[in-house]
Amino acid sequence: MPLIEFRSVSHHFEVAGTTRPVLHDIDLRLTEQRIAVIGANGSGKSTLARMLNGLVIPAAGTVAIDGLDTSKQARAIRRRVGFCFTNPDAQIVMPTVAEDVAFSLRRHRLSRSDVDARVAATLAAYGLSGHSDHPAHLLSGGQKQLLALAAVMVTEPDLLVLDEPTTLLDLPNTRAFADRIRELDAQVVAVTHELEIVEDFDRVLVVHEGRISHDGTPTDALAHYRKLWA
């Protein structure tokens, strides 16, 4: 598994002329396969996730994936780190399902037949084979999120970052999506409010007011999180 390192990471946003701190002095070494990040809205967990593939560069400190600094080696980082957003509509670029998955491979210097084969295999793996030529905007919410995941996984990333991927899904689709995540060989960092799906993760971080307030097993972390808001 890739080694994820946060070294003395702090960050803030400028909002209407004022500085709003988001993360305070985070130090982490993550090597487990499935890591969950939970916390209240505005706690800083999405910012932490966005730092993993260089979408947010920390104001202080460094974030590294297997020694690659996200602030200096963005291209290498993005080849290794896939990112799945909350709203799949913002992530789907091409009009049809197969075209959107193929879009992820456009810079991989593959032949047309290789691209077609990888797209077909990925769509089959995510239960979307029957929709390959369908307009992406006509898919259901669950299918759109699977498409967003397929479009990331077709590039075979070493690390997959999920930012609240089940927020817009109903219970059956949430469970189906969680099952897909369980089957992945890649390392996964999932930011979520869906406490049920993190119960079998290897490690759970609780983010509270910009700090890691707990870091441990799912049972302990969930108990800590519930106590925070009791």
Partner: protein, 201 residues
């Protein structure tokens, strides 16, 4: 919701198999050939050709209806204007030529995958690379433009529903402002997603 902009209808007809570049050139040739369509009889003959092409492409009648509907209002307004200022023959020729060309353009998009159209555009604009214009970027802009139509229509429908639910009367400002704000938010999120997918790499 039906597919806006005549998005691809899967099929294996001769028109589906024809390369995208050939279809685009055919469309340009058809536009040039409209100079020859100067009488209602010729409009009728051209219409017959278009109908035959739709039959050959095996486009379902429902899809044809979906695509033709937005042209109807335009045709009625333009036809009425031409009828008043230039007579019925000119009205038939002007409206007929424009509607037939739009139907042909729609047939191209109905029988061609967007990715194939974009590849053709990228190939055709490759010489512009010499003056610093990135052809891949042109293709991406077109793809995002096509995709954004569906997204904006969805946003508009959501805003309409939300305002009806709250009993707010739809007006220019109460509709346009939230649509603009949500479109800009979507553009922000899309930019972030493109960066995550390595578009700038």
């Amino acid at each position: 919701m039906s597919s806006p902009l005549g998005l691809y209808v899967p099929g294996s007809s001769p028109l589906h198999r024809l390369p995208a570049g050939a279809k685009l050139l055919g469309l340009v040739a058809a536009a040039i050939a409209t100079h020859w369509i100067s009488t209602p009889t010729r409009v009728g003959l051209a219409a017959l050709v278009v109908v035959v092409l739709y039959v050959v492409a095996r486009i379902p009648l429902r899809v044809v209806g979906d695509q033709a509907r937005p042209m109807f209002l335009f045709a009625v307004v333009l036809g009425a204007f031409q009828l008043v200022v230039a007579g019925w023959r000119t009205a038939v020729v002007v409206v007929g030529v424009l509607v037939l060309l739009m139907l042909l353009a729609t047939l191209v998009t109905l029988t061609t995958k967007t990715s194939a159209l974009l590849e053709t555009v990228v190939r055709a604009t490759r010489p512009l690379g010499g003056i610093g214009i990135d052809p891949e970027r042109i293709g991406l802009v077109l793809a995002l433009g096509i995709r954004s139509v569906a997204v904006i229509l969805n946003l508009a429908a959501e805003i309409r529903e939300a305002q009806w639910a709250r009993g707010v009367r739809l007006g220019g400002r109460t509709f346009a402002v939230p649509l603009l704000v949500r479109s800009l938010r979507h553009a922000d999120a899309l930019g972030e997603a493109l960066a995550a997918r390595g578009v700038d790499d």
